[in-house]
């Protein structure tokens, strides 16, 4: 007893209709860091950004479909959707209904000279911190919390839908729900 082919996903139908055979597989595959630190959706966002930086992804490449991603990672599809929305928000990706999500932009590349200057500033800061008595982990902790504060303050100015971790700071609790 066969059911009509309409049960297959639209993407497959589109693929089989065109002469160019199946849609190209996404160049990247996600993986997750099991620790509780960074929220899952942000990990996915960062991995896409990292892939862009390193050149694994170019404009026009297709990101893994939600189905592929959750099948491989065993996570809630909402998480992937949230990540893709964030990427759209950052201007890096664009979703085409029925076809998937594609890379649309590039990261602002920081120039080599700029990177060198930033690096030098950072090393100066590290020396100062060491003189003040901070050890390696203290430096990491200080840097991490400062980065968080910086991002929080920046995000406050930019209206956005936050994930659960955005509620950590009490001021943003009202954004949830």
């Amino acid at each position: 007893m066969t059911i009509d082919k309409g049960s297959k996903s639209e993407a497959d139908i589109v693929a089989s209709d065109t002469a160019n055979s199946s849609p190209a597989a996404s160049p990247i595959a996600f993986r997750l860091d099991p620790g509780p630190g960074v929220p899952t959706y942000l990990q996915l966002v960062h991995q896409v950004e990292q892939s862009l930086r390193l050149g694994y992804l170019k404009e026009g490449d297709r990101l893994p479909t939600v189905k592929e991603a959750v099948n491989a990672l065993a996570i809630n599809p909402n998480t992937v959707l949230k990540a893709y929305r964030e990427l759209e928000h950052r201007g890096l990706a664009i979703g085409r209904p029925g076809q998937g999500t594609f890379i649309a932009g590039t990261l602002r590349r920081v120039g080599l000279a700029e990177q060198k200057a930033l690096r030098k500033d950072l090393l100066d800061w590290l020396r100062t911190a060491e003189d003040a008595g901070l050890d390696a982990e203290g430096m990491e902790a200080l840097f991490a919390s400062s980065l968080r504060d910086f991002l929080d303050r920046r995000d406050e100015k930019r209206p956005r839908r936050g994930g659960r971790r955005a509620v950590r700071s009490s001021r943003q609790a009202g954004e949830v729900a």
Partner: protein, 305 residues
């Protein structure tokens, strides 16, 4: 539409009260984790939801008012009981055919494709399949009737880690593809965070916690600070659980007000789902039920401390 709605649901077996006065309203479109220690009443609740049990007191309805076990409910609800029961002496293909003959709606092609993708040979007898394969076959049977909600009773219990990952991945793919809701029970909390977006905690037959994971985690955090001096303003900060070790204490607190600077001398960090569930399970009296200040969706009961 409400996925599952109960009102004062109580179930008694001879002299044990498996479920007591349980009132829930789970919205559809979620992956719901039903968590609790063994004997908490999870299987009882799920069996009531599919019509295998009748309530002693109270009411339960699924999928927007359908009575569990009715024709409409049985068509729209897919169920995999604990230990993935299947007919062991049948080959997998016949098992599939048998399930098809017991159902009104059936997507044969999808079921076969799925089994082919998973590498489950149709000629092999069910009892000769591995635990993971049996679980996947049971899931395939439940999905093949294209339900709107899938109810799974401890689907991962007897699976090895690889099988567990594959099963959950497979399940999430089905959720992504069909938009179906899932209710699954588990007594292993650590794997839930990535999967569930709605949480229900049962303990000793009573409902302790119910709400969207995002909202619950947003309303709780961990305060770390000097032990001994627990002089926190208990009117504003509800402490769910406190762990003390010498000079330091960790508190899991629930904040009902949105603007709450950290108390001086205390450092706050986000709570994980595991923190939350374990803390509440340790204190059966504590409970958080959906209320106007914690969930946008459900109205009704205010949070009880």
């Amino acid at each position: 539409m409400k996925l599952m709605e109960t009102s004062g649901l109580t179930k008694r077996f001879r002299r044990t009260w498996a479920l007591r006065d349980c009132t829930l309203a789970i919205p559809a479109g979620h992956v719901v984790a039903l968590v609790g220690p063994n004997g908490a009443g999870k299987t009882t609740l799920l069996n009531l939801a599919v019509g295998l049990l009748r309530p002693t007191f109270g009411r339960i309805s699924v999928l927007g008012g359908e009575k569990p076990g009715s024709v409409a409910a049985r068509r729209r609800v897919g169920f995999v009981a604990q230990d993935a029961p299947l007919y062991g002496h049948l080959p997998a293909g016949d098992m599939l055919h048998l399930a098809r003959n017991l159902n009104l709606t059936w997507d044969e092609e999808r079921a076969r494709d799925r089994l082919a993708d998973l590498g489950i040979p149709l000629a092999r007898k069910v009892r000769q399949l591995s635990g993971g394969q049996r679980a996947q076959l049971a899931l395939t049977v439940a999905l093949a009737k294209r339900p709107e909600v899938l109810i799974l009773d401890e689907p991962l219990a007897s699976l090895d880690p690889l099988a567990r990952h594959d099963f959950m991945g497979s399940l999430m793919a089905a959720v992504a593809e069909d938009g179906l809701s899932v209710v699954f029970s588990s007594h292993v909390v650590s794997e839930l965070e990535r999967i569930a977006d709605y949480l229900v905690v049962l303990n000793e037959g009573r409902l302790q916690l119910a709400g969207e994971v995002d909202v619950l985690l947003g309303a709780h955090h961990i305060l770390t600070g000097p032990g001994g001096e627990m002089a926190l303003d208990s009117k504003r900060i509800a402490v769910v659980q406190a762990t003390q070790a010498g000079a330091q204490a960790h508190l899991l607190v629930r904040t009902s007000a949105a603007d709450q600077p950290d108390p001086p001398g205390w450092l706050s960090s986000p709570a994980t789902l595991e923190d939350l569930v374990l803390a509440y399970l340790r204190d059966p009296k504590a409970s958080v039920l959906p209320g106007p200040d914690l969930t946008a969706a459900a109205g009704g009961q205010a949070a009880r401390a």
